[in-house]
């Protein structure tokens, strides 16, 4: 074995091991994040966290009950905006679309997907907060809802396109009109993919902070209706993390754990739905 061969062989082993190190490192980062949050967050979770409202500054014993419910409400509002437009938009692209118009829709959907979340917040501020003259859950929900649209459109379109042509043709041959085919045959067949997309996009906006900073603002109390400022987990995490109080830090960890738990569960659930569908598939 000459020198050059030895060099090539050792380079081979070194480089390939390095790639393994890269993969290992990336994976361990996630486990580190999870572990850290479980440890610090778990230590700080108590019943008061889930049932109390925030305490006056500097006092202990506060909780994030209103922020947890607030996040839920914001996601609900966002879904009311984002899911109908996103899913039906995806239906249009997959089933009804013309050439140029569809291209335009897809292009703007991609554009919208790339809009930084803070810019979305500016947008919601100019068209909702300013005219209404106050911060509101509606403004926050609208900002998040618009952010949900691109993912919903893309996954819906892909799922619908994935439905075999055979099914459509069969329905049409039996005399069903196009919309009935879509509504009663194609969509149910694609429902798994569509629901997955919806779950993923909800999980994505659940963790968004920037668009809420000047739309939904925050609230010390329970927020009723959609006209008032509303507390949310991500904004509370941010506020408490940059503050000096140790009690605030403790609560930030707990909130981080709750938020991450929700986001990861939704993601894992969504992906398992897809893989189960594919495994048991047609």
């Amino acid at each position: 074995m000459n020198l050059r061969m030895a060099w090539r062989k050792s380079l081979n082993i070194v480089m390939l091991s390095l790639t393994g190190v890269c993969a290992l490192f990336t994976v361990s980062v996630l486990f580190f994040i999870l572990g850290y949050l479980l440890w610090y967050g778990g230590k700080s979770l108590n019943w008061a966290f889930f049932t109390n409202l925030p305490a006056p500054v500097g006092e202990t014993g506060g909780g994030m009950a209103n922020a947890i419910v607030g996040s839920g409400k914001l996601m609900l509002l966002a879904s009311l905006v984002g899911i109908p437009i996103g899913v039906l938009g995806g239906v249009y692209l997959a089933e009804f679309g013309g050439q140029t118009f569809s291209f335009l829709v897809r292009y703007t959907t991609d554009l919208l997907n790339g809009v930084p979340s803070i810019v979305m917040g500016i947008f919601a501020y100019t068209i909702i907060v300013l005219p209404m003259k106050h911060f509101s859950a509606l403004a926050g929900g609208a900002a998040l809802g618009v952010m949900m649209i691109p993912i919903a459109v893309r996954t819906t379109e892909e799922s619908l396109r994935g439905v075999p042509l055979v099914l459509r043709e069969g329905a049409l041959a039996l005399g069903t009109s196009k919309w009935r085919t879509v509504a009663t045959v194609v969509m149910p067949a694609a429902i798994r993919g569509i629901v997955t997309g919806v779950m993923l996009t909800i999980a994505r906006v659940a963790g968004e902070t920037a668009p809420l900073l000047f739309t939904a603002l925050s609230n010390k109390f329970w927020s009723s209706g959609w006209n008032q400022p509303i507390a949310s987990l991500p904004v509370m995490i941010y506020t408490y993390a940059v503050g000096p109080y140790d009690d605030w830090h403790r609560q930030a960890w707990a909130a981080g754990l709750v938020l991450l738990g929700f986001v990861l569960l939704a993601n894992v659930g969504a992906r398992m739905m897809v893989s189960r569908g594919m495994a048991g598939g047609r």
Partner: protein, 327 residues
């Protein structure tokens, strides 16, 4: 397509309005209309977004014009606003993130596509894609309490000790810094690079690998000199995608970058990014010029991300056309 043979027995009414209403009664047109309106509203929202950004930044645009991009001062007292420190901070933190994330990401993607057994590869990719779902504010949380103390000692002193002759590593050590922002962003964008690169690497035809190995190449040589170049386009696309993501990141950056609108050669110095300054100063901008200057920054950021996404698309089109021409 509304009238199938069986339902064609309906009589056709006369007049255009009558015909329109008649067609509406057939569900197809309704469905078409509704879904069309939804799709159109996406375009409408996007247009409105750009429009709002544009008209709400008119004051600084008229006052500063192009100078806005070159101004280094951000002085609300005197009403002098320049975007350069923020553009610099955004670009540098993202560039640093790419510098760290690309080797890491492509390396991991290579491992997952070439070396790992399929089951481990899928499971590992699944875990890595979960990293992409972690919210930005949680990265910020860990940034403040885990990363910054680690950077403060031992990492930054070590860098200063060994590489301190470089202007990159000069200056006092704060912890919050451009370096911290770059590291956090790198971790946030790595999953995108890995996920897309792995897929394009897997798509490289197995004949390419076999041909190389058949000619006596080592696995590494086959991978690095044949497979990766073959998948070049997709890998570039993933890098652009990651870059666009890094440019717009707000929370994690503002929690670790130090929030100082200065341009400094050193990575140890604090900086500021476009998204971070908007997040910090938007609710407090007193005076229309101040607020609109922030909105103009938002417009700049938006255009920057469009540009990167557009470039990505061009790269893909250019190289696939070249590839097709080569046959």
């Amino acid at each position: 397509m509304a009238d199938t043979p069986i339902t064609a027995a309906r009589t056709r009414p006369s007049g255009r309005v009558g015909q329109f209403i008649h067609r509406l009664r057939g569900g197809d047109e309704v469905a078409h209309l509704i879904t069309l309106m939804c799709a159109a509203s996406i375009i409408a929202v996007t247009v409105m977004l750009v429009y709002q950004l544009y008209i709400n930044s008119s004051l600084p645009r008229h006052k500063f014009g192009f100078e806005f991009f070159l101004g280094r001062t951000w002085d609300p007292v005197s009403g002098d606003f320049g975007a350069l420190p923020f553009i610099y901070g955004t670009l540098v933190s993202s560039a640093l993130a790419l510098l760290l994330a690309v080797p890491l990401g492509v390396g991991a993607a290579v491992f997952l596509s070439e070396l790992a057994p399929p089951r481990i590869s899928t499971a590992t990719t699944f875990v890595i894609e979960l990293l992409a779902a972690v919210p930005s504010v949680i990265y910020g949380l860990l940034g403040i309490f885990v990363l910054i103390p680690i950077l403060r000692k031992p990492v930054m002193p070590f860098l200063k000790h060994t590489l301190g002759f470089l202007p990159l590593f000069k200056g006092p050590i704060y912890g919050v810094s451009m370096l911290a922002a770059g590291v956090v962003l790198a971790i946030m964008i790595v999953p995108f690079i890995i996920s897309v690169s792995r897929e394009v690497l897997l798509a490289v035809p197995v004949e390419q690998r076999e041909a190389a190995l058949g000619l006596g190449a080592t696995k590494w040589e086959s991978t690095w000199q044949i497979v990766v170049p073959f998948a070049r386009v997709g890998i570039f696309a993933s890098i652009f995608l990651a870059l666009a993501r890094a440019l717009g990141e707000t929370m994690a950056v503002t929690m670790v970058i130090g929030n100082d609108p200065k341009i400094s050669a050193s990575l140890f110095a604090p900086g500021y990014s476009i998204a971070a300054v908007i997040a910090n100063e938007f609710t407090e901008a007193t005076g229309d010029l101040y607020l609109q200057a922030l909105i103009e920054l938002g417009l700049v950021l938006f255009l920057l991300t469009i540009l990167i996404n557009g470039l990505a698309r061009l790269v893909i089109i250019a190289t696939t056309q070249k590839g097709a021409a080569r046959g």
